[in-house]
Symmetry: C2
Subunit: 479 residues, 2 copies
Amino acid sequence: MAKEQKLVKEITSMEEDFAQWYTDVVRKAELIDYTSVKGCMVIKPAGYAIWENIQAELDRRFKETGVENVYLPMFIPESLLQKEKDHVEGFAPEVAWVTMGGLEPLQERLCVRPTSETLFCDFYKNDIHSYRDLPRVYNQWCSVVRWEKTTRPFLRSREFLWQEGHTAHATAEEAEERTEQMLNLYADFCEEVLAMPVIKGRKTDKEKFSGADATYTIEALMHDGKALQSGTSHNFGQNFSKPFEIQFADKDNKLKYVYQTSWGMTTRLIGAIIMVHGDNSGLVLPPRIAPTQVMVIPIQQKKEGVLDTANKVKDALVAAGLRARLDDSDKSPGWKFSEQEMRGIPVRIELGPKDIEAGQAVVVRRDTREKITVAIDALALEVPKILEQMQKEMLERARAHRDAHTYTAHNMEEMKDIADNKPGFIKAMWCGCQECEDALKEEVGVTSRCMPFEQEHVSDTCVYCGKPAKKLVYWGKAY
Amino acid sequence: MAKEQKLVKEITSMEEDFAQWYTDVVRKAELIDYTSVKGCMVIKPAGYAIWENIQAELDRRFKETGVENVYLPMFIPESLLQKEKDHVEGFAPEVAWVTMGGLEPLQERLCVRPTSETLFCDFYKNDIHSYRDLPRVYNQWCSVVRWEKTTRPFLRSREFLWQEGHTAHATAEEAEERTEQMLNLYADFCEEVLAMPVIKGRKTDKEKFSGADATYTIEALMHDGKALQSGTSHNFGQNFSKPFEIQFADKDNKLKYVYQTSWGMTTRLIGAIIMVHGDNSGLVLPPRIAPTQVMVIPIQQKKEGVLDTANKVKDALVAAGLRARLDDSDKSPGWKFSEQEMRGIPVRIELGPKDIEAGQAVVVRRDTREKITVAIDALALEVPKILEQMQKEMLERARAHRDAHTYTAHNMEEMKDIADNKPGFIKAMWCGCQECEDALKEEVGVTSRCMPFEQEHVSDTCVYCGKPAKKLVYWGKAY
């Protein structure tokens, strides 16, 4: 068994060092590799296949709501970036600048898009003329660049993959509706597909997107009690349409400025999956997002009939619509078990000569290690049920973990105690002043994650200043 | 009819000015828009949906051959780009350079990838250790940048979308096999899906990819008689693995350098579809790649039962697996016909009160304008057949056009006459010297498109110098 356990031994346990555990998992599960380009990563096949599944499922849900995909340039002329004041202040310090094209210096430098509001505005300015052209509900899948100082695979890198939706509407109500619709779509996707419960809410002015009237967010709790902002949806009102002059002739023949939104999700979600579901044997993938859902592992595969039956089982599972594979490599079964666990494949099927003789196989769930004996003929019927059960229980477990790590602070003493000793979300009232927000970051080390849509009233006064409270806020340490 | 015809009138006829016709079609069919970023375009929903279909179909075919998708950084450090001598000479003059990250100058400048051979090599160097790790058959979908001086939508732009496959193999034979396999895959895709016949062949040394031992290409003939290189597949031998030190321990325990290939197709294919199939009413999309295959257009749609029946027809077509839509906007039927034609939707179904009374509808093919009367109940059965017939005939027509515009030159007199008066491919023998190739470009204005795999012997001597001929070459003017 020594060799089989080596793969696992190479991961640090999450209780010992969560950050190192995370790094070990992304490397040992072969999700990424580092590169010669500082702060940028290679997304390897096992990692990219997760992203492909995220893309396919999100794209399908987008299109059901009328979204159309487009592609805009990756470069933004400096003058364009500068048109919206808050926006340029937010992004200019962290963009990469192209200053040479071929052998010649450029007349105007171009930044590599950190986000594409300005490009979409420049496009919509000429594309939208009449109320008949509205709404525009466009999205693009692309990579963006932000020149971060410290980086971590998936969570914060200089280049990352994402989708960015950019819409234009005739009325403020419609823009608000779309902003909320996309946040709800994101939340449903996280819960239904990634088995990841989220808190939906609004960002404070300090934390909102540069240029937005309102930023809505979904916040998830990682296994170590830190929060991860997992998707955001912004309502811009007319903040961009005015400087960019995006006007349309309305039904009443008057020229009006459009109302805009944008919303995005990124490869960061892969980091979230790792940190919500992973364990000390590696990755645990929710069945609905797993590139391989079932690995059939033959025991004593050289004995007559074993590989044959294993192949038939795999084929039957594929025919039943599952993403199933057979590991018939010459590694030992124990090694294959460790690999399947490290890569987070939801279920493995162990199948040896004795099983075949008895007409049965052993199905092992990755999350609970539960062993379920199933008749070989019934696998194509039973394994989908086991996967659905696993998906459901993973969400329940994640929700229970999140709830068990959500605390309430009524005063600064409680706030400090929780922040120091109990990693998780902290619910506490806030007066609405940025000074208190700044002070909580400075003194307690927490930031406001969101003002949840489902407001509660846990006390009358701001946890910091004691003045009358306006909002319940989820606070926490965040990635 | 005046208003209906306006949409069409706005396109220049292709006989009058082919270049202007092309530009008119890409704009009026709403495939692209120009941007403030010189040489870069917006790919609008109608254009991007074609690319999505190309991607889905190519990706499916790739995966059937064992390809796995990955994502590598968009930046290449200058020192990495310089490792392979020919490669850097080929690409350095046309790359965009990032010199600032945030507010600080970079220590080493980074180019935005024009292609990713050097990045894949840098990755494979650490990723490949043993013969067990081979082959590596990776691909990525991304955008690349080449700082072109003159640009045209889809055909030549500073940024374009593509896929680039990069493989590593243990033997030269395997690399050669993969190079040819992917070229064949590209050719089959063009013929079967885009209805576009291609000539498969090898590029001369002058025209091959910077750093390759051999470049294979598929060349298609556009409606104006110019050639378009539509996909390439390169065999690098060990040209990259040696400077990048990509070695593996072979079965005999010896360290060996891997053999590599790369292959790519781009959004240029959309330009090819336009120029092979389009006509003076606009775009004509082959049914298999068309985002919308059928547009149901009601006549007198306000009359009772018309929209109802039109909707049922649309639903029945969708249920039959077709990409069908209903145009129930308040535009006139004539305007809708013009729009459907401009956008190249393969088939429209005209459906008015009289048709409904007679239990039939009129199906109009976009390519031939043929009108086919079909019983309403039979539409879901008949329209797929009509589309398949159209797909087949579009390929046949394109092949007939290509064959009718392929000429043979036995000497320079014929060569000049054809080049001046008969736009198309010119088959002529070549001695193998670059001097003759250069002279033909200088004196006749043609470049070597490829040495076709299916060699013929049309004369004994080189068309230019009269020395013994080595190869038949397809020559032509090209995009």
